[in-house]
Symmetry: C2
Subunit: 158 residues, 2 copies
């Protein structure tokens, strides 16, 4: 079908791209020593556990609200106190994202949605925001790891 060539990227490839990034972020979480995950910070910034709280509060819940067209306020999950709990939550979110993604139609991407009841943009821009925000904070996690003397994973390992 010639018309399919008009796509810059297919929904399937965009999901793969996102989940590739999420797999890399998971490896960054894993690399933090337990204590440093909750306590280490630079320049008054949030420790990586708090940055992860934000990422968990966005990805799956935000995609769910998009799929249901049910704008929910931004809320961070219940307080987790062990890194393994974060990794479990991360994996749950991975599966949920795959499920919600299947419910997105190709038309949805260009419709607007008021994310968290606040940010009204085309859904594709919301999704780009989820990815970019994760890459941004993960980049900060790389600095934390380096400052702790820990070598982060290669950026292109997904």
């Amino acid at each position: 079908m010639k018309t399919l060539a008009a796509q810059v990227i297919t929904p399937e490839d965009l999901l793969k791209h996102w989940q590739g990034h999420r797999a890399l972020t998971r490896r960054v979480i894993e690399l933090f020593p337990e204590k440093d995950f909750f306590e280490f910070s630079i320049g008054g910034m949030r420790p990586f556990s708090k940055l992860t709280d934000e990422l968990l509060a966005i990805a799956s819940p935000a995609l769910k609200s998009i799929v249901n067209r049910d704008s929910q306020p931004y809320t961070e999950t219940e307080k987790l106190i062990f890194k393994t709990q974060y990794l479990e939550k991360w994996d749950e979110a991975t599966a949920e994202i795959n499920q919600y993604w299947e419910k997105l139609t190709i038309e949805d991407f260009n419709e607007t949605f008021k994310l968290f009841g606040q940010y009204e943009f085309p859904i594709i821009q919301n999704i780009f925001y989820f990815i970019d925000n994760e890459v941004h904070h993960r980049g900060q996690g790389y600095v934390y790891l380096r400052a702790l003397g820990i070598e982060p994973p290669f950026f292109w390992e997904r």
Copy 2:
């Protein structure tokens, strides 16, 4: 035209997205004190000038090589010694990217290209890499700024 709805994102919007990120990175460069831009680092990482060398070596030259289907090895630009030179180079690259982008056809995005003679992927993935890599390193720049006691721009300011 109904067929256009099959696009997840148009080339025009993807360019706008990329240039929005580039405008934010430019503001981060501007915020660095001259000396710290070249010298400040954390955990043995490159100072932000060196990270910017990398970003400049990728964006415009890489897009040019894609448009010309002329795979060139990765090379960083001549050594710049003032922040204003970086900002000038940045603005030149902004204009060049806009020009090269016009030469990309919709079909190009799904063709493969061996970037820098090494990384053979669909062109859309190459372009996502340019953006993600910039967001990643800029996130690191945010930590440098915070460590220097300087408030970085809001992430959503493009």
